[in-house]
């Protein structure tokens, strides 16, 4: 297992807690892991493309 510390301020934590309160996930940690599982596969890095200023000159 890999231990990750996520720094969040009180406002950010409030949003997590309100989302948990809606029943989306049982707690903060589960919510963060849910976000990773749902978003992660859709948001993987594509192969790097040359920047416009780097190519074609």
């Amino acid at each position: 297992m890999h231990r990750i510390s996520v720094p969040l301020n009180r406002q950010q934590l409030e949003l997590l807690d309100r989302t948990v309160a809606r029943g989306v996930a049982p707690d903060r940690v589960a919510l963060l892991k849910l976000a990773l599982r749902e978003l992660g596969p859709r948001a993987q890095r594509a192969p790097a493309a040359p920047r416009p200023e780097e190519g074609g000159r």
Binding site: M1, V6, L8, R10, E14, K33, A35, L39, R45
Partner: protein, 322 residues
């Protein structure tokens, strides 16, 4: 439209503007007489001039060219919809450009004096006791503008025709100030200034029925919520020796939430598209993942109003006083 009642009518002449009381439930109709004329527009809460139309908020919500179905918003912290755009026969209005000013004509064209929207607005607003410093960024009706590649902006000639019009339904009591744009040496009004007809009408029931619901939120504050609600009446800025800062939620404490990830999850995190922004700070990467996910799942309107949907968790903590 049947059911409307004409309350007042003016034909604004080149070089002029007019401050008009347009009350909630009334329609301000601005109509081309000859065609090809840009009209600049300011608006204030009639009962509190410190609340005024805010082009920045409006363009954030509706884009650079507000049109039929969009709102004109007031500035933070009020952030109310002051007007609803009922009709727009052209669909090319602008909240990108500022009003033209005397400086522009002197610096770019060498005029010592020239009609300009700032000074026309100021003169029209003077009828209600406002000063040149009260003129704000204008909603530019019938102004054909565009953002070009590289981020520069451009004004084009317009092709509006006689009878083309914009209709604004007041959602609050307002002082509405349209003026004939003073730019006769620019493309804005096709290099000539023309009159424009302005009408104030009592809205018909079907006009009112077209306005979608707008949110009423605790964050829409009024002077009753201000720590300092007194309007400053002298010009110099002098420090308040007794001032104690009361910034919201400060100090903004940070707490670490510890998450254990398995190999598959850590691989997802490592491959996240925005990871390079955070180098090796995987906690920051996971934070980005969470808020990006939350936006996608719950944020109905990324730029805020008008249609906040109930899917987002409701705020639980009332705002502090401003």
């Amino acid at each position: 439209m049947s059911g409307r009642r004409l309350l007042a009518e003016w034909v604004l002449q080149p070089g002029t503007g007019k401050a008009l009381e347009v009350l909630a439930g009334q329609v301000l109709r601005i109509e081309q007489v000859e065609g090809g004329q840009c009209v600049d527009f300011n608006a204030f809460n009639l009962h509190d001039y410190k609340e005024y139309m805010h082009c920045g908020r409006t363009r954030t919500v509706h884009g650079f060219h507000p049109t039929t179905g969009d709102f004109l918003w007031s500035a933070p912290p009020r952030e109310r919809a002051l007007f609803y755009i009922l009709a727009d026969s052209v669909g090319r209005n602008d909240v990108l450009f500022p009003r033209c000013s005397a400086y522009v004509y002197e610096s770019a064209y060498g005029f010592h004096a020239h009609t300009n929207c700032h000074d026309i607005q100021a003169e029209a607003q003077r009828e209600y006791g406002l000063t040149p410093d009260d003129v704000h960024d204008s909603f530019n009706l019938f102004m054909f503008t565009a953002v070009q590649a590289g981020g520069t902006v451009r004004i084009s000639r317009q092709d509006t025709q006689p009878g083309d019009h914009v209709e604004l339904l007041a959602l609050a009591d307002t002082l509405a100030v349209p003026n004939i744009c003073g730019a006769d040496v620019m493309r804005t009004s096709n290099f000539f200034l023309k009159p424009v007809k302005v009408q104030v009408l009592q809205a018909a029931a079907e006009d009112l029925a077209r306005v979608p619901p707008v949110p009423v939120l605790a964050s829409q504050r009024t002077p009753a919520d201000f720590r300092n609600a007194k309007i400053k009446a002298d010009r110099a800025l002098v420090r308040d020796a007794g001032y104690q800062p009361q910034f919201l939620h400060t100090p903004l404490a940070v707490e670490e939430v510890v998450v254990e990830l398995d190999d598959e999850e850590i691989a997802l995190l490592a491959g996240y598209e925005h990871r390079p922004l955070y180098r090796d700070d995987l906690g920051a990467v996971l934070r980005d993942v969470f808020f990006s996910w939350w936006e996608q799942r719950f944020l109905a309107s990324p730029n805020g109003a008008p249609a906040l949907q109930a899917a987002a968790p409701a705020p639980s903590i009332p705002h502090d006083r401003t």
